[in-house]
Subunit: 333 residues, 2 copies
């Protein structure tokens, strides 16, 4: 595991996306042909039409890896982010919110091209979230945006699978991973979404061989990766493919998998579940905050459970309270 | 009181403003020289500097009269809005949120000039809100933006005192008031803020004589209007100056004042007080929804208390639930 000699505990790479959040019922999903629980990519026209059908909304900065990085910052770790916004109002909001969370974010805003990406999120009364993402300018992340010096200073480089939907961004991620590994850092990947794995299975399997030390996936994602129906078979398949894999299973907690061990970690809850948006992102945040500091794997998993339990207790994808303080309260720091 | 012959129960005129909301403590207010509980006007530079000091925020459509109009719509009444946004992302968000709330809003977006206005709101742990407003393009509302045919179809025209801070907008409001009155509609005004009254006392007193049938004010605003320290003296002064004045007194409810009567109305609460932003706006929404339908004044006040109690139970300046449904539950519809 990484030591403390790097400037950044964790550096994240992902699609920079502003969330547009509404609360609505299952009938709204049906009327608007939305697949419940999924992240669906939409083009600008579909995004605009869907937004037109939305009730009044709130806007809040999101993006999977950025949510994770903001969570790691909330644990008191040093973090940076690599992603692409336009020089528009939502891009300014996005940069503000990351920097205000303590995240170094110096990738310049694009002066031309599509708008800052946005994700239309419907939260249903069962706390499930259904996402329709217009990637916008986030797809334009390119190798020139990756500061190799920054990656060399990363204890862990954390990448989201969603980036594979953005063609020019893939090369940027490979550049970042190569620079991180060459300097002795670790690489982490989240598979992001079952449909995303369907779209990019072979590339993800290749990344596991070439770069990835730490893999995050939920049940449907890990089963999709290995094209099996049984999560135990998927866990057998991933064991030893990377240093450690953390497989999340909603309310049943997570299983941490190494070549030689399986560690079961329970979920944690405040007692309130309002909006599951960001649960996986924050599990990764808690896990990585521990991992980057050399905590044992069970403690990493418990920190993940803690951060996930906090974020699902309120609307919005990033922590609403200090995770460092919460960890102290729960005797996990 | 207005009957049911008009197309719109209530038409609002105000500064179209997007709220940027954070939760922070009193120390944050002190460090940033913010006057607790007040609405302070700031220029673009101060707004940007203050935003730079803000923690991560959420964005949500606001603006005093627009909040009221959205609340009236939530009671099931027919409403329209007159205000000015830019053709920028926050302007689009603003228009979406009003229309999605059921509000007719057809004033064209400005193609040039300052950005859509924004209000930086700090909510402290005592639920008090402190506002710093950059008016932006909202100050450019002009008489040409006022559709007199729309005003002639208004049962009540509702205007916010804040508009008097926008020089070209004053003439627009006078045009709207004149058209409404000429067609037999009523005019309502909220004094908005004690400091706002200090800035425009003589003009507000002139409006009371010339146009205003229904006046909304809190204690500090009505005392400031008549330059007295005792709210009873202010109530004596306003009695008979207009058809009806509603003076709100936070947790102590409101006093409804006519030439001949004083009606005391209690506050209403869900038991939760999280964010007092929009309390006065929603009191006006409830009152006007009853008034436009010919309800007696006590019922108007109770509907005001209901809407105010709903909005302070959550973060954000507009209703989070159907006020028509809440009124039914409370046997007020």
């Amino acid at each position: 595991m990484p030591g403390h000699t790097k400037r950044y505990d964790v550096v994240g790479v992902g699609n920079a996306i502003v969330d547009v959040i509404v609360q609505a019922d299952d009938g709204f999903l049906a009327r608007n042909r939305l697949e419940k629980g999924a992240m669906t990519l939409v083009d600008a026209d579909r995004s605009a039409a869907l937004y037109g059908a939305f009730p009044p909304a709130i806007e809040v900065s999101g993006g999977s890896a950025a949510n994770t990085i903001a969570g790691v910052a909330s644990f008191g770790s040093s973090v940076a982010y690599i992603g692409k916004v336009r020089d528009d109002q939502l891009g300014e909001v996005y940069r503000h919110d990351l920097r205000a969370a303590g995240v170094t974010f110096d990738v310049p805003a694009a002066a031309a091209g599509p708008e800052t990406g946005r994700c239309l999120i419907v939260v249903t009364p069962d706390a499930e979230r259904t996402m329709s993402t217009y990637l916008g300018i986030s797809t334009m992340l390119e190798p020139a945006d990756v500061d190799e010096a920054l990656c060399r200073e990363a204890g862990v480089l954390y990448c989201e699978g969603y980036v594979w939907d953005a063609e020019t961004a893939k090369a940027a991620i490979r550049k970042a991973m190569a620079a991180t590994k060459a300097a002795g850092g670790k690489c982490a990947l989240t598979l992001s979404d079952g449909f995303c794995v369907d779209r990019h299975r072979d590339e993800f399997l290749g990344l596991l061989e070439e770069y990835v030390d730490v893999l995050f996936a939920n049940q449907s994602e890990i089963c999709s990766l290995y094209e099996v129906d049984d999560v135990d078979k998927a866990i057998d398949a991933v064991a030893g493919q990377c240093e450690v894999a953390a497989v999340t299973m909603s309310a049943r907690g997570s299983t941490i998998v190494t070549r030689d061990a399986r560690i079961e970690v329970p979920a944690w809850s405040t007692g309130v579940v309002l909006d599951t948006t960001g649960a996986g992102d924050q599990y990764a945040a808690g896990f990585l905050s521990g991992y980057a500091r050399g905590a044992d794997l069970e403690r990493c998993g418990r920190l993940g459970s803690l951060a996930a339990g906090e974020v699902i207790s309120h609307v919005g994808p990033r922590p609403a309270t200090s995770l460092a303080g919460l960890a102290r309260d729960q005797r996990l720091s």
